[in-house]
Symmetry: C2
Subunit: 406 residues, 2 copies
C-alpha cells in the first residue's frame, strides 16, 4: 500500500462521512445514519470506490474502542450499579429470546440443520453497542436512567454473544463444548470487570503525577490512548470483547468513580475535564471511520433480490429479531415509554451481527442465501432503529426522567 | 493482522516513546532523541520486539505530515519570504556540496562505479526536515529568523532530493534522463507551492462557515485532517514530497497568511486558535510514532563492525556529509553563531537519507557493505546533530535575535 493511496482513502472516508452526517443532521436524522450510508455509498453496495483495507480497518477499531471509552468516561458507576439488576434482566431476555426465536425460524419453519439454526439464533442475539451508544450520545440520553439500563444490557449482550460465538465455533470444528471452558471465560470476564477499573484508576494517578512535572507536551493523548488500547488488549486476552476494555478504562477515569471498600482515591474534576478536552478531538477523528467501515462491509449487491426464499426467510427472521429484543423490557418495572425505548435501542445488530454472520459464511456453516437473508436483517435493524429511537424520544419526551448528565 | 496484536504494538510504541522522551528531557537532551532511541531499542538493532508493520508505518506517515502542518501553521509567510533568498542559497549549497563530496569519496577514493557514486552523493543531499523541525520546535526557535532560513532550506532540499532521486532511479533502470521530465517536475512543484496555500485558504473559509452552523461535534478534527491529507496527496501527484503538502496546508491556515495581489481574506485569529487547540492532541498522538519508526528502520545489527573497509568508508563519508552541510551558511550574510547553527541544523539525514539508501539497496545499486556505511552516517548525523544544536544555542544564546513567535 502506497502512502498517498492510503491518504486518499482515509480522506475520502472522513469527508464523505462528514458530508452525509451533516445532511442527516439537517434532515433531523441521527448523524450516525449518515456515516453508515457514507459507507454503503462508497462500498461494494453502490459505487465500490473504497475497499476495506487493513490499515483503515484497524483505525476503525481504534475508533469504536475510543467511543466506548468516551461512553465510560461519562458513566456514573453508581447509576450503572443501580441499573445493574434491570440491565441483567433486559440482557438475558434479549439474549435468550432472539436465540430461541432465530433457532425456531431456522429449525422448524425452514428445516435447516441444528448447527445452522443455532448459528442463526446466535447472530440474532448480538446488540450493536456501537450504534446504540452513538444514538444515545447524539440524543444526549446516555447518562439518563433508561440510557444506563440500555448500555449495561448492551455490554452484557456483547459478552454473552462472544462466549456463545466461541462455543459454537468450537462445536462446529468438532471440538465439542466443555462446560469448564465456558465457565473459565465467564470467570475471567467477571474478574476483568471488577479489577480493570481499579487498575486503570491507579495508572491514571501515575499519569496525573507525571503531568505536573513533565516539560514536553503531548502526555495526555499518548498515555490515555495507550491506556485504552492496553485495556482493550487485556480484555481480549481474557476472552472478553475488546470494547469492554475501552469502556472499563473510561469508567475508571470518570469523575464519579469510587473504589470498592470505600478506599479514598479522590477523582480530581479538573484533571478529568483536562482529559476530556484533549481526548475529544482524537475520538471525533477516529469514530466516524468505524461507522463508515460498518457500511462498507454490508454488500447489498451480493443479495439476489428476486429470490422469494430470501424474502420469506429474511421477513421471518426480521420478526424474530425485533420481537426478541422488544419483549425483554416488559420483564422489568419501568414506565411503558421507557420500555418501548429500551426495547428499540437493543434492536440494531450492526457490526456485531455482521461479525457473527461473516464467521458463519467463512466457516461454511451458512450458505449464500442464508447469509444474504441475515445481511438484510442486520441492515434493516441497524438503519431503522436509530430513526425509531429518535421518534420515540420526541413522542414521549414529557414522560421521561431528566438526564443526570452535566 | 489481528486487532489486539495491532493494539499491543501501537501502545508499546507510544509508551516507550514517551518514557524515553521523558528520560531524555530530564537529562537535558532533545526529546526527539528519546523517541528515536525508543525505536532503536524496540527494533532489530537491539531487542527486535517490534516489526515495522504497514498499518503503523502509515500512521507514522500521518504523524510527519501533521508535524509539518504544525510547523506551517506557526510560520509567518512574510518572514519565510524574507528568509527566501538566504534559504535558497543554503539549500543549493547544502545540495551541491554533499553531492559532489559524496560522489568524490565514492568515485575517486573508493573507486566505485559512476552510478553507485552518484547514489551515494544523492543520499548525502537529503536533510531530515522531520528531525530539524522537531528540534527547532522543542527549542522554541522555529519562528526565529535563523529557524525560518533553516526550514525553508530543508524544504527546498527535500524537493531537490526527490527530483534527483527520481532522475537517478530512471537512469538506473536504463530509461535515461530527459531534461524535459526534470523541468516538468520542477514546474509542477513551483505551481503547487504558489497555488496550494491559496486553495487551502479557500477551503478553510468553507470549514469556518460550516463551523458556525453545524449541530454535530467533531468538524475541525475530521475536516482539517482531511485537508492536510488532501494536500499531501496532491503534492505527491505533482511529483513533490508529501511533506510539502502538509506544510502548505499549515501555511494557509496560519494567522498571518496573506494572499497574493492583496486580496482581502482576513484571517480570523480566534478560528486559527480554535484549530490549534483541536489539532494539538492529534498531532501529539501521531508524531512520536513517526520518530519511533525511523529508529526501528535503522538496523545497526546488520553492520559488520569488524570490517575495516566499512569504518574507513563511513568515516570518509561522514566528513563529506558534515562538511557539505556546514559550508553552506558561509555563502550568506549572517552573524557567525547563526551560521554555525544553520549548518548544524542541516546535518541530520534521518528518514529521507534512509529512504534513499533503502531504495539503492533494493534496486541492487548499493551492496551490503556500502549500505552499512551509509546507515552509520545516517545514524550518527541524525543522533548527534540535535545535541550539537542544543549545545550551540545555549553557548550563543545572547548573540541570537529574539524569536518572533507568540
Amino acid at each position: 500500500m502506497q502512502t498517498h493511496d492510503f491518504f486518499l482513502i482515509l480522506l475520502v472516508i472522513l469527508l464523505t462521512a462528514r458530508i452525509f452526517a451533516e445532511l442527516a443532521a439537517r434532515l433531523k436524522t441521527p448523524s450516525v445514519i449518515g456515516e453508515l450510508l457514507a459507507g454503503v455509498v462508497l462500498g461494494p453496495s453502490l459505487f465500490g470506490w473504497i475497499e476495506p483495507i487493513e490499515s483503515v480497518k484497524l483505525m476503525a477499531e481504534i475508533g469504536i474502542i475510543l467511543l466506548l471509552f468516551e461512553v465510560g468516561l461519562g458513566t456514573d458507576p453508581k447509576q450503572l450499579a443501580r441499573a445493574g439488576f434491570k440491565s441483567v434482566v433486559v440482557a438475558l431476555a434479549g439474549f435468550i429470546l432472539p436465540l430461541l426465536l432465530g433457532f425456531g425460524v431456522g429449525y422448524w419453519i425452514f428445516e435447516l440443520s441444528l448447527l445452522i439454526s443455532l448459528f442463526i439464533g446466535g447472530t440474532l442475539t448480538a446488540t450493536s453497542i456501537g450504534i446504540t451508544a452513538r444514538v444515545l450520545t447524539d440524543l444526549k440520553r446516555h447518562h439518563a436512567p433508561e440510557g444506563q439500563i440500555i448500555l449495561g444490557a448492551a455490554i452484557l449482550d456483547d459478552v454473552m454473544g462472544v462466549i456463545l460465538l466461541a462455543l459454537l465455533y468450537e462445536f462446529s470444528i468438532g471440538g465439542g463444548v466443555t462446560l469448564g471452558n465456558a465457565s473459565k471465560v465467564i470467570m475471567f470476564v467477571g474478574a476483568f470487570f471488577v479489577l480493570a477499573p481499579v487498575a486503570a484508576k491507579l495508572m491514571s494517578a501515575i499519569i496525573k503525577h507525571i503531568n505536573t512535572t513533565t516539560e514536553i507536551p503531548g502526555l495526555i493523548p499518548t498515555t490515555i490512548v495507550s491506556l485504552v488500547l492496553f485495556f482493550a488488549w487485556l480484555a481480549h486476552s481474557m476472552g472478553a470483547p475488546e470494547l469492554l476494555g475501552g469502556f472499563a478504562a473510561g469508567l475508571a477515569l470518570s469523575r464519579r468513580f469510587f473504589l470498592p471498600f470505600g478506599t479514598a482515591l479522590h477523582a480530581d474534576p479538573s484533571f478529568a475535564e483536562h482529559i476530556e478536552t484533549e481526548m475529544k478531538p482524537i475520538i471525533h477523528l477516529f469514530t466516524p471511520i468505524f461507522f463508515v467501515m460498518v457500511g462498507l462491509s454490508l454488500n447489498l449487491r451480493e443479495i439476489d433480490w428476486s429470490s422469494p426464499y430470501i424474502w420469506a426467510f429474511s421477513m421471518a427472521l426480521m420478526i424474530a429479531a425485533i420481537a426478541g429484543k422488544m419483549l425483554g423490557p416488559w420483564f422489568i418495572r419501568e414506565p411503558w415509554p421507557a420500555r418501548w425505548i429500551i426495547g428499540t435501542a437493543m434492536i440494531p445488530r450492526g457490526e456485531v451481527g455482521l461479525i457473527f454472520a461473516e464467521l458463519g459464511r467463512e466457516s461454511g456453516i451458512l450458505n449464500n442465501e442464508i447469509y444474504a437473508g441475515m445481511v438484510i436483517v442486520i441492515a434493516v435493524t441497524t438503519l431503522l432503529s436509530p430513526f425509531a429511537m429518535k421518534g420515540l424520544y420526541s413522542r414521549f419526551n414529557d414522560h421521561m426522567l431528566p438526564s443526570n448528565s452535566a
